[in-house]
Each structure stands twice: as C-alpha cells, then as structure tokens.
Subunit: 211 residues, 2 copies
C-alpha cells in the first residue's frame, strides 16, 4: 500500500513540477484555495473576481459534481472552467495541466484554483501552485488546525473567513491563529468576510504582491 | 488503479461484514456520523451523550490527530475511544473492529461513531454500521448534497444542524432538503441545534426507535 501511494504521489509530483515550470516561464501566479466544504470559498472567490475582473484572472473550480461554482464565477465576468472529480476527493496536477491547456492562458495571468472541499486529501497533492491558501470559517471551530494539521502545514496563508458571524458564535480568533502556528509557525493570517467586506482589501493586496 | 481501489474496498467490505454480523448477534445499534469538519458533530454528540448517559452508549471518535473529541465525550460520563488516522482521510472497518475489541462492548449497546470530518472519502467505506447519519450545518450552504452526492446517497438520515444560526444566514432549509432528496429520495431529515435544543428530542427518539 505504501509503495502504491508513493507511486501515485510520485507521478503527481512529476506533473506538478511540469506545471510549475510552465507557470514560472509565463510569469503566472497560481494559488490553490483549500478548505472544508462550506467555508465560503466560492463566495469569497466571486467577490475577489469582482475586484480583479479586469486584471487578468482566471479560475479553475473543483467539485465532485455540478458546474454551479464555475457558473457563479462567470457571472462576475471572469473566465472559469469546472473540473468534476466524480468519486475523487481532490484535484491532481494532471487535471490542472489539462484545465490550463483548455483555458489558453496569457502571460502574467493570475490563476485561482478552488479545490474540492476537503481538509484532508488535497494537502498531499501538489498542483504546481505557488501557494496553498487555507480557508477556515469561524463557524468550524478553532481546533481545526490541530485536527487537520497537514493542510495548515502545507499552506502559506490562512484566511479566517465569515468573521461577520463572530458576534453569534463562541469562536476565539486568537486561539485559532495560535493553533495554526503550532503546526506552521510561518503561516500568514488574514481575517475576511465577503459579506461585510472586512479584510478583502488586505487579501487582494496579498494576491497582488505575489504577482 | 481501478483494480487496486476495488481490492482495498473489497477487503474493507469483508471486514465490515464481520463487524455487522457481530453487532447484529449482540443486538448492538451502530451509527456512523459523517460530515464536513466543523459541522458541529462533536457538540451534537456530547449533548446526545448527556441525554443517553445511563443508557448503554459508547463512542468511537475518528480524527487525523488529537484526542480532544474523546476527552469531550468522556466528560459526559460516556465511554469513548479515539482513533487517529494520521494521513488517512476516513475510518475503515478494521479500525472499528479493533476499537470495539478494546471497548469490550455489552449486549444491546448503542455505538456511535464520529467519522473524520470529510464529505467525500468516508462515503465509500462501509464500517459495518446500521446507518450513516449525514450532518450538514446551515453555515455550509444548501447546495452541498448536490456537490457531494455520494455521502447523502449513502445516508439514511440527514441532520440539518446549527439551526439556531438561521436568523443570521441566507440558508434555505427546504431547498437543502430538496437537494438531499434529489440524490436520495428516501433520506429522513431532522433539523437540530445542540445550542438551542431544537430537534434534540426528535433525534434521540429516532436513535431509540432503531435499537
């Protein structure tokens, strides 16, 4: 079993390395949004697209089923492509390579990948992205970085999302950040809400600085 | 790859069949709680345990890391055991068989399994349980049954949880139920909140009727 797993991951890593080289050569920034289902990734992403609509951004949406999310993104005027994984629990590097071929990317584009909602499996699959960005909704509880450490260890940035709901919840933002830094001392953190707009400028700035 | 997947699932199914036989012979009801991370499974479960504490109930907790959840259950006076899956994204039948050996179950006990928070992978792994119960928090969005159909197709009951937060959200409960019934026309539904107590009597009644 360990050998099979190593073979699958080894093959994925080789394709991810090709993706990364291609993105680097074309000066494209690729970020991979990872989270539980229902963390608010798509709502945050539609608001992000609205703010960046004329600034060379494309989206790759991953879901087991439905094209709902790509439809939501296209409504903002941004190009989007949906990848359905069927029984699969994560996007892999080959899916991203193929999606990029179909998108016919331009030099310098920002490619935002929304992975399948899953705090476990996508952590192990390099897509060739520059950064993984973990999104954690304040409705989920501040213990999640400790219970799903691989994902937070693999991410460069954590967005603590839906902070507009904090008045209605028992959620300790600082404890959540402390937990994330226990598994990844370097992780950056921005508190966001697409509903109230809190943190959106900071998140957009973060993206633009990486380009 | 398909062959390997079939072998893994075939082996799991064989152990699950042994578990099921053993549970049936000892008149034990086993339910498997499945959901995203942060759906409120553990809080719902601690409240369930408080209400059933003297009624032969034990809990098996699954998480990648930490023993936090089993600790929370034990505080209610209910026996609990923690299974850490490490890199693994789901509990499997062998883990449950082994946990039941260690728990030294009595005749007629209710065994509640809290699976790893993951709306994808646990759907494919039979543990020998009588029922899967899918928990969906109203913070997650009503589209989740369509986007993660396997889990809702595999479950007999859906708990629409954290309904105390409905006044602060845009969440259409009926649309959520309609979506769940598109992928599983037979699925039963109870709206619950461990915080307000809504639906808890109905959920406890449902459990007791299965015994």
């Amino acid at each position: 079993m360990v050998q099979i797993e190593q073979d699958i991951l080894g093959k994925n890593d080789a394709i991810a390395a090709e993706n990364r080289k291609r993105f680097h050569q074309a000066n494209q920034l690729v970020v991979n949004l990872v989270s539980s289902p229902g963390s608010g990734k798509t709502t945050l992403l539609t608001e992000t697209c609205r703010r960046l609509a004329n600034d060379r951004v494309v989206v790759i949406e991953g879901d087991q089923e439905t094209a709902n999310d790509a439809d939501r993104i296209r409504e903002t005027g941004v190009r989007a492509i949906q990848v359905n994984t069927g029984k699969g629990c994560h996007l892999d590097a080959a899916m991203i390579g193929s999606a990029c071929d179909r998108l016919d990317l331009d030099q310098g584009e920002l490619v935002i990948i929304e992975n399948v909602g899953n705090l476990v499996c996508p952590a192990g699959f390099d897509l060739g992205e520059r950064h993984k960005v973990a999104i954690l909704s304040v409705t989920e509880g501040e213990d999640k970085p400790l219970k799903y450490p691989d994902m937070f260890a693999a991410s460069n940035l954590m967005l603590v999302n839906k902070v507009d709901l904090l008045p209605h919840l028992n959620f300790d933002v600082q404890a959540c950040i402390d937990n994330a830094r226990k598994v990844n001392p370097e992780i950056q953190v921005i508190c966001t809400s697409a509903t109230s707009g809190e943190g959106m400028d900071e998140w957009i700035d973060w993206l633009q600085k990486q380009r």
